[in-house]
């Protein structure tokens, strides 16, 4: 190595030597209502009794939807279904924090968020029943459908947020995915770009501790998923994902920040998947019942019910009435789903392109001949 010949080079030499750089690493963890229904600190402004009951009702509907969907699958009337049992607070809290003209980009366990935003139970059943018409939401027209390939929708959220920003709109995109998604390149590329462009997007990593059979501990050596944001120059927040109040508060804060032009946030919502990965999975092959039982003690519905009961705002009769109401709603939805009109197989071609290219004429004609011969 050539020794420095002047003082300027000498300074440069010193600044590139071994120096201690202080990198800021701090994760905020948000938790209001704990597993026993006890409140820590003052509840956020939105959390009056009426609103808490609304959130509770949405979580119960999500769970009843789940039970009904599994029953339909078990009796051969629905396709493979991904249950959200035990993690209802996260999607409901996320959706409750959003405005109706924000855009949701869900993964496949966000039924609670979709229902809150106006996707109908019938549409959800159609989707899980293997019918694309279930994605033609009559309610939130700009919401994305379920993205099946893990994390592949995170870049879409960046694009949607950029579109909002370019149009000068006071809107934001919210992208929800699981813990496994944070191991994928799509996730890193998306938060990195969202950070560079300071876009109005909120990423929610629903950490339910299991990616099918792979536990959180085998997914990453990082202490939290939230801290993965820091390397992208993005704020990372940890939240009790089983407390709907905490989730909503965290997402509201992140959305306010996004709308103010202060960029994206990654929120890790800590929850637990009480059910199997899907109806095609048997979690007892890879996880202990004892672990699952322990996590039942911190599931999201009972804590809020306990809190509301303690406040004198909820009782046994309310609960019975709510369950009957949700069951009735599901019966109506199920009937509508099962009665959904037959659909010509030609529809396979209808929305492939805006106009079916001439090259497809022979194949469409062949399908039509098959249908006549059937």
């Amino acid at each position: 190595m050539v020794p420095p010949t002047d003082s300027k080079a000498n300074d440069a030499e010193q600044s590139i030597g071994n120096v201690q750089l202080d990198v800021h690493l701090r994760i905020r963890r948000i938790g209001y209502i704990d597993a026993t229904g006890k409140v820590h600190g003052a509840l956020p402004e939105f959390a009056d009794t009426q609103e808490l009951i609304r959130l509770y009702r949405a979580m119960v509907l999500t769970r009843v939807f789940d039970e009904k969907a599994i029953a339909l699958q078990r009796t051969g009337r629905l396709g493979t279904y991904a249950s959200s049992l035990g993690q209802e607070a996260t999607p409901v809290g996320v959706a409750a924090a959003m405005r109706s003209d924000d855009v949701l980009l869900p993964s496949f366990r966000e039924h609670g968020a979709q229902l809150w935003r106006g996707v109908s139970t019938e549409e959800l059943l159609l989707f899980w029943g293997g019918d694309e018409r279930g994605n033609d939401f009559k309610g939130p027209r700009e919401d994305f459908p379920v993205s099946v390939p893990v994390a592949s929708h995170a870049p879409h959220a960046v694009g949607v947020a950029l579109a909002m920003r370019l149009r000068g709109e006071d809107r934001a995109a919210v992208c929800v995915f699981g813990d496994g998604a944070t191991s994928k390149g799509d996730f890193y590329e998306a938060i990195n770009l969202a950070g560079v462009w300071r876009l109005p997007v909120v990423f929610v990593a629903t950490n339910n501790q299991w990616a099918i059979s792979v536990p959180r501990s085998a997914q990453t050596a990082a202490e939290t998923l939230a801290q993965k944001a820091i390397a992208a120059g993005v704020e990372g927040v940890l939240v009790d994902g089983n407390d709907v109040v905490s989730v909503r508060a965290a997402v509201e804060t992140a959305l306010a920040k996004a709308r103010a032009g202060d960029g994206p946030t990654l929120i890790e919502a800590e929850t637990y998947r009480l059910g199997d990965h899907t109806t095609a999975d048997d979690a007892s092959r890879y996880r202990d019942d004892a672990e699952v039982s322990a996590h039942w003690k911190s599931e999201p519905l009972s804590r809020l019910r306990q809190y509301l009961t303690d406040q004198g705002a909820w009782d046994h009769d309310d609960e019975e009435a709510l369950l009957a109401d949700c069951a009735a709603q599901m019966e109506v939805a199920t009937e509508a789903y099962l009665a959904a009109g037959p659909w010509s197989p030609e529809a396979i071609f209808t929305h492939l392109y805006a106009t079916l290219p001439a090259d497809y004429r022979d194949q469409l004609a062949a399908l039509k001949r098959e249908m006549i011969n059937d």
Binding site: V103, E132, R133, N135, D136, F137, R141, E142, F144, P145, S147, V148, P149, S152, H153, A154, P155, H156, A157, V158, G159, V160, A161, L162, A163, M164, L166, R167, A173, G185, D186, E189, A190, N192, L193, V196, T350, H351, L352, Y353, A354, P357, A358, D359, Y360
Partner: protein
């Protein structure tokens, strides 16, 4: 009118599209101040600003994914991938989302995006910079695959691609970027997608090709003409969806077909054309359909490149073999 190179025609079409339609924007690596490594986006940032001409991090997958989101949210993104060799990570977005969003949502969300990338060899570049795997993209329903072969077609087809309501991948023959100039009118006229272009009429055999190989094929056709063989040369232009009718009509006339592509033979798009001829033209064929392609090897480093890419001589030799058969 002004004579322009192919890459200048690309620039002109981008400029035209951005002027006509505020929802058109350009994004990719080095597309801003640098104007793209081949200068395809030169000057656009000055005319349209950094909001509409966006430099991205080196993240090809997110370039494609962001384009899907932008397109679904009402914009018409034109994304540049610097070289086809670096486009493999965008396949996930194209296969799983861009090409399916319309059908998945029954027309509620659509994906009018264009993904441009230079392809092919002949510029003595590093490894991964000379690839021709367009066939990977022709296997994706819901997508359009367009490859221009001249400055005028580059201008007209790119305008058409940008205006198309569905996703288009647009592969540019980088060897032709500056090889020849022709008059290109900035008239805003798009050329039709999903249509072959007959570059040369002939009655003895049909040669089907696309992209940079059009250039070499026309050279071979000139040689053949001197020998009394009249080749009809068809530029496929849009590989998917394929305008097979034009190819079939020509082969029914000539009775002979040679397919030329720069990509390797096995699984190449020439196989699709040959298979369709086997299905539909058997009784018209006087000789077996033949293919001239790159060898079924990896793309060699530049020192052996000229032995890998089909040459006019190799094309002419194959045509003579067909003529000798019958």
């Amino acid at each position: 009118m002004t004579e322009r190179s192919l890459v200048e025609a690309i620039n002109l079409a981008l400029s035209r599209a951005m002027t006509e339609d505020e929802s058109v924007l350009v994004l990719g690596e080095d597309v801003g101040v640098d104007g793209g490594v081949f200068r395809a986006t030169a000057g656009l940032i000055d005319r349209f600003g950094a909001e509409r001409v966006r430099d991205t991090p080196i993240s090809e997958a997110v370039i494609a994914g962001v384009s899907v989101g932008l397109a679904a949210a009402g914009f018409r993104p034109v994304a540049e991938i610097q070289f086809m060799g670096f486009s493999l990570t965008v396949l996930d977005q194209l296969v799983n989302h861009a090409s399916r969003l319309r059908n998945r949502t029954q027309g509620r969300l659509t994906c009018p995006m264009v993904l441009r990338a230079p392809y092919g060899g002949g510029i003595h570049a590093l490894e991964h910079h000379s690839e021709s795997f367009e066939a990977l993209f022709t296997h994706i329903p819901g997508l359009r695959v367009v490859i221009p072969s001249s400055p005028r077609r580059a201008y007209g087809l790119l305008l058409a691609a940008i205006r198309d309501p569905d996703p288009v991948v647009f592969f540019e023959p980088k060897r032709l970027y500056r090889l020849a100039r022709e008059e290109v009118a900035d008239d805003g006229e798009a050329l039709p997608l999903d249509q072959c272009v007959t570059l040369r009429n002939g009655s003895d055999l049909t040669v089907v090709t696309w992209g940079a190989m059009c250039h070499d094929t026309l050279m071979a056709a000139k040689t053949l003409e001197d020998e009394g063989i009249e080749a009809e040369v068809i530029d496929v232009a849009t590989l998917r969806p394929l305008d097979f009718a034009t190819i079939l009509t020509s082969v029914e006339k000539t009775g002979r077909c040679l397919i030329v592509h720069e990509a390797v033979m096995t699984g190449g798009f020439g196989g699709e054309i040959a298979a369709r001829l086997a299905e539909h033209a058997l009784m018209s064929l006087l000789a077996p359909v033949k293919r001239v392609t790159a060898w079924d090897t990896v793309v060699p480093y530049p020192r052996h490149e000229s032995h890998f890419i089909p040459s006019p001589a190799r094309i002419a030799a194959a045509a003579r073999e067909i003529m000798e058969f019958a």
